[in-house]
């Protein structure tokens, strides 16, 4: 199949990417601005023998996704702020039980019902810490429609590889805009499937780290090996335990399987940072405003660069630590009151002045606002 340029909406690219990645199950509940993802999944999944179901609520959707994944299907759900809050209970379940799944959150203005049709990036911390307890999570954020396609595939791949829920954190702008996209030949797409237990294993234990990589191989319900899955803290056999050592070992393994693989998981783009004195950190659609501002200011001779995060969690600590000492200022541009900026500040460890460019009125940060902020910060230095 030859690749062909076409106009595609962000939400549409998400479904195309999901199906290319192997999604064969979708459960969801209608919510703006993510609904097109459900609508397209309903249309496209049965054509490839997959299943779509509109559940009675967001909580149920997340439950159904986990259930389907336990039978071996790659499963996804999509939602927005209020629905994302409701899904958190079962996202925690998926984290603890290590059931791969993809959760798309098309962010809109909040809190509460907020601004249903307008963009925001107010769920950065909810994506990381929305469910209770210490838990692993991976969060990706696309800036372009083409990248929605690519990162949806990557979300499935990372989720399958590390047996962890993966969140695709979009925003209303990138979800609803239509943009020129050239889809790659499906045969060129790298697909990762979850590791299955070696058939030679006798008395399979679903949470034993057989390979020493922190990721237990995963059998499926219906494949012939009975096993138990519980949202309680469990030992390697999958059965509940309140033993302190077992608990510590489990939580440690869950976190380490992410933090030991940062180089594989964390992805970001550095633009014009080599000689930059001011570096702007951004993600999602906001990064496009920043990119324009960087181009415009470079034309005027300002030493300005940007880091565009494609992985938000785990955070790209290295990207901050690797910045040269020529950098004087870091600006974190995000459509919220200031969320990621705190993590950047912590990563900077006092090496750089860190300030936030924040907008939370339902409008995208404009290039002019970025430029004004840079000039303000430079004036201070």
């Amino acid at each position: 199949m030859s690749s062909k340029a076409r106009l595609m909406q962000g939400n549409e690219a998400c479904v195309e990417g999901a199906i290319a990645a192997g999604m064969r199950f979708y459960a969801g509940y209608p919510i703006t601005p993510s609904t097109e993802i459900a609508e397209l999944s309903a249309e496209m999944l049965p054509k490839v023998g997959g299943k779509f179901i509109q559940m009675e609520d967001e909580i149920a959707s997340m439950g159904a996704v986990i259930g389907a994944s336990l039978t071996g299907l790659k499963a996804m759900t999509a939602t927005s702020g209020p629905g994302f809050s409701l899904k958190q209970e079962n996202i925690g379940f998926a984290s603890l039980t290590e059931v791969p799944c993809v959760i798309v959150n098309v962010q809109r203005g909040g809190p509460s019902t907020g601004l249903p049709t307008l963009p925001a990036q107010g769920d950065v911390m909810q994506a990381r810490w929305g469910t209770h307890g210490d838990h692993p999570i991976i969060v990706l954020s696309p800036s372009y429609v083409k990248e929605v396609y690519e990162l949806t595939i990557r979300a499935f791949n990372l989720s399958e590889k590390y047996r962890v829920p993966c969140i695709l954190l979009m925003d209303e702008v990138v979800a609803h805009m239509r943009e020129k996209v050239e889809l790659p030949d499906p045969s060129t797409i790298k697909i990762i499937n979850r590791k299955k237990p070696d058939p030679s294993i006798v008395n399979y234990e679903p949470y034993r780290d057989y390979d020493g990589d922190g990721i237990p191989p995963m059998a499926s319900f219906g494949e012939g090996i009975p096993f138990h899955v519980t949202g309680l803290i469990h030992d390697v056999t999958g059965f509940p335990s309140t033993n302190a050592k077992v608990t510590e070992a489990l939580i440690t393994r869950l976190m380490k399987k992410i933090y030991d693989n940062l180089d594989d998981i964390v992805d970001y783009e550095c633009i014009s940072v080599e000689d930059a004195e001011t570096v702007i950190i951004s993600f999602g659609s906001t990064a496009r405003s920043v990119l324009r501002a960087v181009h415009l200011m470079r034309q005027e001779g300002h030493k300005i660069g940007m880091i565009r995060l494609k992985t938000i969690w785990p955070f790209a600590y290295k990207a901050i630590q690797n910045l040269s000492s020529a950098v004087k200022n870091l600006i974190v541009a995000e459509m919220n009151f200031g969320q990621l900026v705190e993590t950047v500040r912590a990563s900077a460890g006092g090496r750089f002045e860190v300030s936030g460019l924040n907008k939370f009125n339902g409008e995208l940060i404009t290039p002019d606002e970025v430029i004004a902020k840079v000039k303000e910060v430079m004036g201070r230095a």
């Binding site: 064969r24 199950f25 459960a27 249309e43 049965p46 054509k47 023998g49 299943k51 179901i53 559940m55 009675e56 609520d57 909580i59 149920a60 959707s61 997340m62 439950g63 159904a64 996704v65 986990i66 259930g67 389907a68 994944s69 336990l70 039978t71 071996g72 299907l73 499963a75 209970e89 079962n90 379940f93 319900f221 219906g222 012939g224 009975p226 096993f227 138990h228 899955v229 519980t230 949202g231 309680l232 059965f239 509940p240």
Partner: protein, 272 residues
């Protein structure tokens, strides 16, 4: 334990955590006996539960077992069944798990008529959290959160299931155990959403709070207030007050959800 039943249990996990006289053990045994009587393929059975005393049952059972979050068993089960319709999916839940926090999932699973058998271990109380009233606690009963008597009206889960669209609805009790096993067998053989409201006893919390005495006394109480549906038809509203109606309430053959979805798949691929 009877030898032929041992394969259905994770015997190394026994004795179970339930209190002396808790009839959840009787119900779990009834489920296993029904499966054994029907000679169902053990490797095709998935048992799902939510949270609470009832929901510990799957941990003792040697199938694909899933102990989910509070109230959500049917949501997970729906995903499993739709993803793999070859599996026989059984949900073991409690009265609080099913009718309160899981109420919405319950009515919608019934509405879809998805082929899942739901067995409610109905002991009228939240046992795991030590004795709060549930939507099935009879009005006037006592609970730790109803120290002056429960003013909530209780659900009739069978009526709820039937009006929501369940296609097999029955109620049994732990006293009338041979009949209950037959009911579970019928529920398991039924294609579509089947509900078994299994009246159970909680001597530790419901029993103590309501001064009902020993497990034996509670079993006697259930025996004495239970009436077969057929006999109930002749009784007045006053005569039926406080009675538990048992037997098969409803049975209907109706299109099943996963079979309907198989048709959707066919339709979507027409002309491809």
């Amino acid at each position: 334990m009877r030898k032929e039943l041992e394969k259905y249990f994770r015997t190394e996990k026994l004795p179970h955590i339930w209190c002396p006289g808790c009839s959840h053990g009787i119900l779990t045994g009834a489920v296993v006996r029904a499966i054994d009587n029907l000679k169902l393929d053990q490797k095709k059975i998935c048992i799902v539960s939510g949270i609470g005393c009832s929901s510990r049952a799957p941990g003792y059972l040697n199938f694909y077992t899933l102990h989910t979050t509070h109230g959500r068993a049917l949501a997970f089960a729906t995903g499993i069944k739709l993803a793999n319709p070859d599996l026989k999916v059984i949900v073991l839940t409690g009265d609080g798990d099913c009718a309160a926090i899981g109420g919405n999932h319950f009515i919608h699973a019934a509405r879809r008529n998805i082929d899942i058998t739901t067995i409610v271990f109905n002991n009228s109380i939240y046992g795991m959290t030590s004795g709060q009233y549930s939507p099935m606690t009879p009005k006037g009963s006592y609970a730790t959160t109803a120290p002056y008597g429960n003013i909530d009206r209780n659900f009739d889960l069978c009526k709820l299931a039937q009006s929501a669209g369940a296609t097999y609805v029955a109620r049994g009790t732990v006293y009338h155990i041979p009949q209950l096993i037959k009911i579970i067998e019928k529920a398991l053989q039924h294609k579509g959403f089947s509900l078994v409201d299994a009246v159970s006893i909680c001597p530790t919390y419901f029993g103590r709070k309501n001064k009902m005495g020993s497990p034996v006394k509670m079993m006697e109480f259930i025996r004495d207030v239970s009436i077969p549906i057929k006999s109930a038809e002749k009784l007045s509203k006053e005569e039926l007050a406080g009675k538990i109606l048992i037997g098969e309430f409803y049975e209907e053959q109706a299109p099943e959800y996963t079979e309907e979805y198989a048709k959707v798949i066919e339709k979507s691929q027409e002309g491809d």
